[in-house]
Each structure stands twice: as C-alpha cells, then as structure tokens.
Symmetry: C2
Subunit: 316 residues, 2 copies
C-alpha cells in the first residue's frame, strides 16, 4: 500500500531539506519512494543537484528514490488546453471561441492555479501504486491547506449540480414524451458524465487524505513560526486530518564552552532564546517533536543532505 507523507510549514523553514532527507531515509530503508515538489522555486532540483521535471525520474546516486517537480504555470496551461478540448466536443465552433476567451481570463484569476494544482495532486496520488512512499513537499498553510480541506466541500457542491442537471433533463424528457431522441438524453449527457467524474475525484482525494496520508510540520524556533504552525494545526484538525509530528529546523550551534567575545555572546543568547521557544513548542503544541536539526552555514545539498538525513529519526 502507498503511504502519502505531506511536509508542511511556512516558506523558508526548510521543508524541502527535511522532506528530501526523509525521502532519502525511506529509500535507504528499502521502500520505493517518490518525492514530489510543488515549490515554484524548484528547490528539490537544487538539493539533489539534478534537474527534475513533471514526471518521476530516478535520483542519481540512490536506489529506490525518484523525484518530480510540478510546474504550477505548466499545470494551469495544460488545464486550460484540456478544458478547451472538452469544450470543442460539446459546443459549436462559434461558442468555443467565445467561451475560450472567457476561460483564458478566468485562468488569470485567483483560484485557477489552486484548482489546477489540486487536479495534478490527485492525479499523482492516483498513479502512485508502484511506490511505497510518496513524499509531498508542500505548504499546508494558506492555499495548499485550503486545497486539502476542499474535497468535502466540493463533493457537496458537485452533488447539487448533478442533482440540478438531472432534474432539468428529467423535465425536458417529460416535456418530450414519445420522442425517442429526447428520452435518451440522460444516459449520454456529457455534463452529467463530467460531474460524475469530478465527484469521484473528490471522493478519492478525501478518502486518501484521511486514511493513507501522514502530515508532518516543519518549523523554526521563533515566535512567528510557532504562531503560524499553531494556526495551521488548527486548520488541519478542522479538516479532520491528523498531524504525526513536528520537525524543528535551523537550531543555532553552541560556541565552545570556554569561548569569549562578541560572537560567543551572540550565539549563547540565541541558543538560550531558541531553547525557550523549543520548550514552548513542546508544551503548547499537540504533536510530538520528532526531530531537531541544527542550522548549516550553506544550503543543504549533496553530502550535507545525508548528514541531515541522519539527524531525522522519523519512522519511514
């Protein structure tokens, strides 16, 4: 069975590092693993020093490890082309042009990006049966979190739309009693087929997220990060999803015990402040702290990633 591990947390806390290191650990434990990034800045390619695209690609140097990066712009463009193609089958050419213009404008509005991304997410979940673990590097704060809570709402909505469409066809059929042509409308109705398909997608996404997904939050030992994580945890719980653990990233290293000077004082003050924050995290946030990772001087990649992976004791 495939387990889906979502790594969340606000931008800049080190989600990509942590999720890549976790993916590495899973692969080393012998599990077929896929790391999926939706970060438009494409950090996964940086971490593994290898270019990834929209399809799963083996990560060089490691067995059982694949990675892919979903390009949000591309997803929106594809979504638009798909819709156009479907319209072409259902509408007259004159109507297609008109609707197509409206669609193009609609794709520039907020929400279009999230909707397209959601579809791509579900597609990846649906076609992942060859993997034991799929690791999503994504942000369940803000936009992405609303996405995860979406299936339930959208399901209700689709059901209403479906009901209305069926009613209106029913009226049409009744009005056309005796005409064989009209009586067959419901079966072949492309709108009902499409709505039914959407409904199944949302059901699948809701079930998978509730039953086969684990959420881990990455945060830094500072007030802002703690506050945002608290909010995100509340939202995740409201969506009936549960969080397995917290990873505290970017802890400042201590100076030597006998070290004196401006630098040592700065570092000791910082370590002290961070320890207070860490205590607050343990005391006031529900999920357990499953890993503490020290900050690095340079961006985590290559052998530094293997170092970090060893600091993560997350159950793969």
């Amino acid at each position: 069975m495939t387990t889906f591990s979502f790594f969340g947390g606000k931008g800049g806390v080190g989600k990509t590092t942590v999720s890549s290191a976790f993916g590495l650990n899973c692969a080393r434990a012998g599990l077929e693993t896929l790391v999926v990034s939706t970060d438009p800045a494409h950090s996964t390619s940086d971490v593994f020093d290898q270019q990834f695209g929209d399809e799963p690609t083996p990560v060089s140097g490691y067995d059982n490890l694949h990675a892919m990066e979903i390009d949000p712009e591309e997803v929106v463009d594809e979504h638009l082309s798909d819709l156009r193609r479907q319209l072409g089958q259902q509408l007259s050419p004159a109507m297609v042009n008109e609707v197509s213009m409206q669609l193009e404008m609609a794709h520039q509005t907020p929400g279009a990006y999230e909707a397209a991304l959601f579809d791509r997410f579900v597609e990846v979940m649906r076609t992942a049966e060859e993997y034991d673990r799929v690791v999503f590097d994504t942000s369940p704060t803000g936009g992405t979190l609303r996405l995860l809570a979406l299936p339930e709402y959208l399901q209700q909505w689709i059901e209403r739309l479906l009901h209305k469409r069926e009613k209106s066809i029913e009226y049409y059929e009744r009005a056309a009693i005796g005409e064989q042509q009209a009586r067959k409308m419901m079966e072949g109705d492309p709108i009902i087929a499409r709505l039914q398909e959407r409904k199944e997608t949302f059901e699948f996404a809701g079930e998978t997220l509730r039953d086969d997904a684990r959420f881990t939050f990455v945060l830094n030992p500072d007030d802002l990060s703690i506050r945002e994580t608290r909010r995100a945890l509340a939202d995740i719980q409201e969506a009936d999803l549960s969080v397995a653990g917290l990873v505290v990233n970017r802890l400042t290293p201590e100076p030597d015990p006998d070290e004196q000077g401006r630098g040592a004082t700065y570092l000791r003050d910082r370590v002290e402040t961070e320890q207070e924050r860490l205590a607050e995290i343990r005391e006031t946030l529900d999920p357990p702290v499953v890993a503490e990772i020290e900050t690095r001087v340079r961006e985590v990649k290559g052998s530094l990633l293997e170092d970090v992976a060893e600091e993560i004791e997350l159950d793969p």
Copy 2:
C-alpha cells in the same frame, strides 16, 4: 497626495519588521502614516506590542502613526453577508435560500479569500486620503502578486459581461416595443449597476497601483530567498509595476577579530557565505539594495524596532 508603499517578499524574511520600521521613519519625518497588515498571524500587533483591528488605530508612543490589521477570515465572512444582502434585494426569497447555500460553498473554494482581500485592499486605498503614506505589509509572491496583476484582466472581463447584459436587455426591449415598463429596464438594471461599480473599482485599483504605489522587496542573504525574489520581480514587471528597492534582512553579525573557537568559525563561515549572496544580489537583481539589516537575537519589537528603523535609509 497619498503614496502607497508595498513591502513584499516570501514568508519569514522579516517583512513586518521592515515595513513597521519604515512606517515609523515616515511618521518621524512628519508624514501622516498608516501601516496595514494582511498577515493572518498578526505580527504588527506583536511588533508594536499593541492590539490592532480592522480599523486604523493610533500607535501608542508615536505621533502621526496609525496601524490596522485586516483579518482575512472576517473579510470573507463580511463579503458573504454583503452578497447575501444584495441578493435579497434582487431575488425572490426562495431563490435567495438556494443561491445563498451555493455562495456559502463557493466561499470555501480557493480564490474566495483572495477576492475578498482584494476588495478590502481597494477600500483601504480609496479611503486613505487623510494619510500621506500607506504602508502595506504583504506578500507580492504567489497569491498577493496575482491580485495586483488582476485589475487589468478583470476589467476586460467585466466589460464583456457588461456588454452582454446590455445586449440582452436591448433584445428584450426590442421584443417589447410599445410597453413602457420594459423600455425602462436598462436604466434601473441592478446587474448593470453592479458591473459598472466593479469596473470602476478595477480601474481605480489599476491606476493607483501604477501611478501612486512603490514596491520594496525584503529578502535574506540565501539562495532560496534570492531565487524567489527573482521570480517575484519578473512577475511584478510583467504586471507593469516597478520595484524601488531591495532590503536585505537577517545578516549574521561578525565575531570579534581575535575571537577563536567553534562559534567564531561558524560565524565567519556564515558571514562569508552571506557576503557572496549579497554580491550576487547586487550583480544579478535590477533594483538597488537600499538597506542591509543585521539579524537580532530576539524578535524585533519596542526599542529594537527603533534600532532597526535607524538602519533603514529608505526615502520615506
């Protein structure tokens, strides 16, 4: 005349600190200043150690300085109530119930939040004539940026909707030649009035953003932050908006020159890496670096904020 200063940058780089410090400098220069935050974590209240709400409130301890925090959840709820009230005036009670249910579900979908926030943004801009400077603490990466690029697209869309509505009323009138009642429809049509109002809102927002707004990006001296800023700058330029400058925040302090030990080595390595990133920022990003701010051990608030304000030499 009111100038609108937008501070952008990805989460966690210190936008709230920088925009609050900038607001403080504006107020001290004798300008009536309003700081507006859309951060759901409400950092502005933390920085000034004072609770702010949805209306401008004087900041204690400072002349000419006001602050407000837009609560995104509340904005969405109000938006929903407004729509319901308007519907009540235009539809039959039975229809209101049905549409109201659909609306409630629509408000859970992605985009609803952004749409509501956009309206509130514009409202603040429209009613800000008593201030010389309005400082927006917001993120022009991702969602907010798409918002700023929106007026132009939405304007085209609304114009098409308006055109369609006028056409359909025209046909209706033609079909009802002689009936006085029908001929007067266009003038009093509530949908045309509403579309016209939206059109003016988008025109105002587009003009104000182009003519009276300045954008400043806050970033940290690391790869990820540089990459995201590069992307955001490209998007902002595509939306025909210009960026006045870059603020590099969170620079690591140097140890004493003669300091030895693990701590001093760590800090020197870090400072060296950050200086490389700073050089990259100056060489590869267009807007000038207008301020460099050293990292603080604790969260910036109170007297620490005044310290930071002195490090910002941004032209108010």
